[in-house]
């Protein structure tokens, strides 16, 4: 499979602290890749480096083989990299529909349209409804984000990213804060995503990872500890000790 997103010896330090330490990852088209690791392993920093929120201290990020290390956040989104946030990062005063429409509008280049009423863009509205229907939350379209249950807000997070029609989707703990009985719904949604989207998911819940990913990278103290198929990684003694250690601490 051809590689869509990759990093080469990616580094990022905050002062003397090395948060991303020579990380080389390669995400092929259609990947279902999970990134796991204890708290403070630098997982979210890695997503920020991939999306251009942070710039690396060293190494490079490539999309379709092209170096995009110096490309800004907005331009990377245009090239097909979308993300969700670990903590819901939505628009409290907007409706669900408008929230997703903002993403669809930016992608289709009408964000600067200053004269025509937003509600006259039928195609935008239809596309939003199509995404919401796919995620099973079409009934909530006209409700305000702040009125929505947390689990549904998590789904809206994913819906916003889908509105960008990404080729690479970076999910930062999509089930964080969701009661385990509802996380099943999120997993179902993830399983139904188009297979040509490459997905890199950060997740703590090993159960979720085991069911979702066909490849796992373990990050510890900013560096890649190991990478491989789920069974292989989970059987690894070092991985077990990292997680066991965390369990004892936490």
């Amino acid at each position: 499979m051809s590689v869509v997103l990759e990093t080469l010896n990616l580094q990022r330090s905050f002062g003397a602290l090395m948060v991303t330490d020579n990380v080389s990852l390669s995400i092929p088209v259609g990947a279902r890749h999970a990134l796991i690791g204890p708290n403070g392993a630098g997982k979210t920093t890695l997503i920020n480096l991939l999306t251009g929120v942070l710039s690396p201290s060293g190494g490079s990020v490539r999309l379709d083989g092209e170096d995009i290390t110096g490309v800004g956040q907005a331009a990377r989104v245009k090239r097909g990299i979308a993300r969700t946030f670990q903590i819901n990062s939505l628009f409290r005063n907007l409706t669900v529909l408008d929230t997703i429409a903002l993403a669809v509008a930016e992608r289709s280049g009408i964000g600067w349209s200053i004269w025509r009423p937003a509600n006259s863009y039928r195609s935008v509205r239809d596309e939003c409804m199509e995404i919401l229907t796919r995620l099973g939350i079409a009934d909530e379209a006209l409700r305000q984000i702040s009125e929505l249950a947390y689990g549904k807000q998590r789904l809206v997070e994913i819906a916003v990213a889908l509105g960008l029609r990404p080729r690479v989707l970076l999910l930062d703990e999509p089930a964080a804060g969701v009661p385990s009985m509802e996380s099943g719904r999120i997993l179902e949604v993830l399983a139904e995503l188009p297979s040509d989207i490459a997905i890199l998911m950060i997740e703590h819940d090993m159960d979720l990872v085991a069911r979702f990913a066909n490849r796992i990278t373990v990050l510890v103290a900013g560096a890649v500890l190991t990478e491989g198929a789920p069974l292989e990684v989970m059987a690894d003694e070092r991985v077990r000790s990292v997680y066991l250690g965390e369990a004892l601490h936490g």
Partner: protein
């Protein structure tokens, strides 16, 4: 605000059709013209401040940019209209107005490019700083601005070559109302557009707007420039109505008062910008007659009540009451 209230206002599923209550401010304004012919200079002042507050609502209410230096644009518009009327042969009020709009918009663009690179308190400080710089410039360049004496000798021809500015302020009042109507229409279109919706998104969560690929900075610069241009129109009206420009248009007072007016009326709802200045200036007028030394106290107490009991401003209070009435 509830979802219905919000979606009735703007957005991709919103309603853009006009509702009867949107005509109320204009009907009241026309009623005022006939009922209070002796108060038209106060009336014009209210209309001008409504226009000024409307320009502020665009950046503060929709863009979430907190500014305490909006008089920079009111003042730029006022002086540029004054310069054209005093130093050039152009006495046509519409051309003076357009000149003021362009100049204020340009100043808004240039200062916005710097201010909007920053966040939070720095933004407020920079808006204050730019207004202070312009005030000092106008003060120092007294040879052309008239300094503390003010700029006078401003020629303003009849509007469209027909309607002369009269002593009673009738023409001036209707002229202000006409300009306000145009600006209101423009702002309303903007707020209902995808651009306007994206501004609301930036106000609520700028980092998420970055993450969906929106050019957040340039959106804000655009909104700031448009807002400055409208504030410049308000300044030009002040100049043309008074045929005099004083340094106080660039001072802190208009910047601060317009923020108070907008908060009083309600931020981010267009019509708050109509209600706030009207209530503020009428109260000011009435209280200043009764208690010339304490009128600001009345405004202060009124504002406290609004902030406490009606955080969405008087307009929010009205719509809440109306909703309770409409749906028992």
């Amino acid at each position: 605000m509830t979802a219905e209230a919000r979606s009735a206002q703007a957005g991709y599923a919103g309603a853009t059709r006009y509702r009867w209550y949107e005509a109320v401010p204009f009907i009241v304004a026309i009623g005022f013209y006939f009922a209070m012919p002796d108060y038209l200079s106060l009336g014009s002042r209210i209309l001008i401040f409504v226009l000024f507050a409307l320009s502020l609502d665009l950046v503060l209410g929709f863009g979430g940019i907190v500014t305490l230096g909006h008089s920079a644009f009111l003042g730029t518009g006022a002086y540029v209209a004054g310069f054209i009327g005093a130093y050039s042969p152009v006495s046509d009020p519409i051309i003076q107005l357009l000149g003021a709009v362009l100049a204020a918009g340009l100043v808004g663009f240039l200062t916005g490019c710097i201010i909007l690179r920053t966040k939070g308190l720095t933004v407020i400080m920079l808006t204050l700083a730019f207004a202070a710089i312009l005030l000092e410039l106008a003060n120092k360049a007294s040879a052309i601005t008239g300094g503390t004496d003010g700029l006078s000798g401003i020629q303003v021809a009849p509007i469209f070559g027909r309607f002369e500015f009269d002593l009673y302020g009738q023409t001036g009042y209707l002229y202000c109302l006409g300009v306000l109507l145009v600006a209101w229409y423009l702002v309303r279109r903007l707020v209902h557009s995808p651009f306007g919706t994206s501004l609301t998104g930036i106000r609520d969560n700028a980092s998420r707007m970055h993450a969906i690929g929106a050019p957040v900075y340039w959106r804000l610069v655009a909104a700031y420039s448009i807002s400055a241009a409208i504030a410049g129109a308000a300044g030009a009206l002040l100049t043309q109505i008074n045929q005099l420009v004083g340094l106080d248009v660039l001072g802190f007072e208009p910047s601060g008062e317009v923020v108070v007016m907008l908060i009083l009326g309600g931020v981010g709802q267009i019509y708050g910008a109509f209600l706030g200045p009207a209530v503020f200036l009428v109260l000011q007028d009435a209280l200043a007659k009764q208690f010339p030394e304490f009128w600001y106290l009345g405004i202060g107490i009124g504002l406290l009540f609004v902030v406490w009991y009606a955080p969405t401003g008087l307009i929010g209070l009205i719509s809440r009451v109306a909703r309770r009435w409409g749906r028992p």
